[in-house]
Amino acid sequence: MADSKDVTLKIDDRDVTVPPGTLVIEAARRMGIEVPSFCYYPGLSLQAACRMCLVEVERAPKLQTACTLVAMPGMVVRTNTEQVHQARKAMLEFLLANHPLDCPVCDKGGECELQDMAFTYGADKSRFAEEKRHRPERKWSEAVYYDAPRCILCFRCVRVCDEGMDVKALGVGQRGSQSVIIPNGEDHLDCEECGMCIDICPVGALTSGTYRYKTRPWEMKYVSTVCAHCSNGCKTTLSVRNNEILRANNRDLSGFNKEFLCVKGRFGFDFTSHPERLKLPLVRRNGHLEPASWEDAIAEASRRLAEVHKASGADSIGFIGSNRTTNEENYLLGRIARASIGTNNLDHHRTADYPSLIAALGEKAAAATVTMTQLYEADAVLLIGDDPTQQNPLVAWQIRAAIRHRGSRLYVINAKSIKLRRKAREFVEVSQGGEAAAVSWLSGSDETLDPGVAESLSALKSALEKENNVVVVFGAELTGAAVRDLVKFGASLPGQTRYMALGDYANSRGASDMGLLPHLLPGYAPLADVKAREKFGKVWGAKLTNKPGLDARGMLAAATSGKLRALYVVGANPVKTFGVNANERLGKLDLLIVHDLFLTETAKLADIVLPAAAAYEKDGSVTNTAGEVQLVRKGGDVMGTRSDFDILRIFSHQLAEHGLGQAIRLRTPEAAFDEIRQSVAGYDLSMAALLLGEAERTSPISTAGGQAKFDAPVGAIFSAHDTLFASGSLGRYCTTILSLPEAGPKTTPEAGAHS
């Protein structure tokens, strides 16, 4: 829709109307006219260093750089004239003056912007007779290598590191033809190791330590999936050759994370080929875990579980699910627990209080939560708790980008001086764990605070009252009643306040949405709700009990006291996460079944261990912390493993043979997702959009109404506070990430290593 302020100009004899301030290069691209460029990168500051985008502008004395030229009314631009072609050819001649012609061995060969441009616009020979300058290649870190002669000095890497990441690890040294990119640590990088510089490099100057010299781009297939680590759900493209994942990057920029990936998204895929990966089921015989066939392991698992059920009843069995497995797998696990076994002893490691937020928002829940894209569009962000730079890197990136591009304001309440503080208008430092008290104070309670904190909080409050449509982002520091207080405070602010809760892992939100909780069915339907029980009972072919179940800590305690006889763990490491004494062997359990990728602390105690496929090795869907659902795709494959989906499905058939529940007849994750779309509130999403690789937001509405409880038991919801270089138990098997100096001494893993 044309605005009266819009500008109309002519490019290559066609009129185009663009908003004021649009650059000519963008206007041309909008029309489908390619103006070549290296240094221009949307979202970064302008450089005009490469001179590739020169265009002819009527009445301008000489060629102009389209990347810095703002479109003006009546401007007449030509991109396809002899003069422009000459200029492009000449520029490429200069860029290639010292560029080595080592394309046949260069990693970038085949997907190199310089190569493409030289083919399209370049001359067939160079007039430079001088010898090319050579400089040796440098290893800046395990992740990043720099090959100076290939560099064309577009400074994209310097800008993305400074402006985008706020790390400022790269600079420019020397000058003129001697210029080189230099790292901050003299000869090495001291940074967040995100590898953004590698992906953004238009040539092969910056190469990835994990990928270099391994393969060529045309020998791989590309699988678009969702990162397996934190809860932000960045889209990542796996480059796969012979079922082996060789690289993860952002090839098509189609996700809501666009070009962004952190160190985990880019380098944290090698756990899939870790030598300790489990490839055969293990069954404990005479006190030792010994390899077994899939048939024997699953048959034994179901037989023994049925025995426990018969001997001690349904409530002597507990289930702990994963916050990394797909929605479909979580849904199936919930079904097995509630329908096949008939217990509500079902939980997972909760890292954010999604149920409380959804309950507190009530019917507004869909409109009052933000997606990652909407976070970038926010004018004001209030960040309470968490350290997004470390724990939720995309959230931090979106906030920084909003500040940089749109002048958004950031307000921070935190017990630590987190890095995002540098970007904040106001920073309120509360005491350790004091976030909830601060929120309670803001909501108008008579909470007594330290006078200094109260003073800065009231400054923050009056600043927020001048804002409109604030987005509140909060971590696991706020749970239960604090979330309710927060929503109360948000309602007092002008405009519509919207929220985002930050969890820890790739499907933390999905585990919650799919009802891996003792008191909630999928879609946050309360167990007490007869209609909801009847609905799921009908779908699952069983009568669901409303007998309250145990949460994860409750199950572990019951295992110690002997009340719980069997525990079924899918992709979680409760021994580590909940700090159970491993020597007690989880109490008096008769049966411990674990699905996992590795022999974790919990799996070591198990009676039956089933080797599961990782997140990069299966199809399904995951939901990020903002409630955006995306499909994950099978990239690699490890012989001997099976997806949790298959294991659970087969398991249900076996249980049915022992007279427990009905066999699950959903053959594929797609079929299960279809059932989820029909039965889980908020998941009736457009399949077409998902299949096209888009993210669709769920809109669950809590039906709890007045019954909502905000008294989550203390310690039920907590974050592992993983850094950029840690990722639960899974992080212990990411060899590349652990090799980075910034990863420091081994971190304490918290959550399941799983998938």
Partner: protein, 160 residues
């Protein structure tokens, strides 16, 4: 004027940084001050400057390496800058440079073992009319043949 003493001292460096850090665009004045103080800019100064100005180490290093006049190693007591630009080359500076290199036993860019002389190449001193030109401790000289170069070096060696 011979170069000043070149013993690095972090406290003195911090003082000089403090004096100037409030200026807009303080980086260049600080670098000049440190070079004046120590005769070169020690690597240890980079983190101090970066912290004071809230810029990255890479940026400070980038600026130091951008300007040829900033040194990152101590120089000799005397610095002889010899022009190698077009005009001086066509007037025979290469012969003079070879002569000086031979006499002092160093290559361009190096410092003599006794730390008395640093010889550097420069590209144009703006004295093309008097090519070949050199600059000795900040003072320009024109028409510098091998004999005149000897004369200049002799003069400095006598001085000490």
């Amino acid at each position: 004027m011979p170069q000043k003493g070149s013993t690095w001292n972090a406290d003195r460096a911090i003082l000089r940084i403090r004096e100037l850090e409030h200026l807009p665009g303080a980086l260049l004045p600080i670098l000049h001050a440190l070079q004046e103080e120590f005769g070169y800019i020690d690597k240890a100064a980079i983190p101090l400057i970066a912290d004071a100005l809230n810029i990255s180490h890479a940026e400070v290093h980038g600026v130091i390496s951008f300007y040829r006049d900033f040194r990152d190693t101590p120089s000799g007591r005397h610095v002889l800058k010899m022009c190698r630009a077009e005009s001086c080359q066509s007037m025979g500076c290469d012969a003079t440079i070879q002569h000086v290199e031979g006499r002092l036993g160093v290559k361009l860019g190096e410092t003599t073992a006794d730390a008395s002389f640093t010889v550097e190449a420069v590209y144009c001193l703006g004295l093309c009319a008097l090519s070949p030109a050199v600059m000795l401790d900040g003072k320009p000289y024109g028409r510098v043949s091998s004999e005149i170069a000897d004369f200049l070096i002799d003069g400095m060696q006598r001085q000490k």
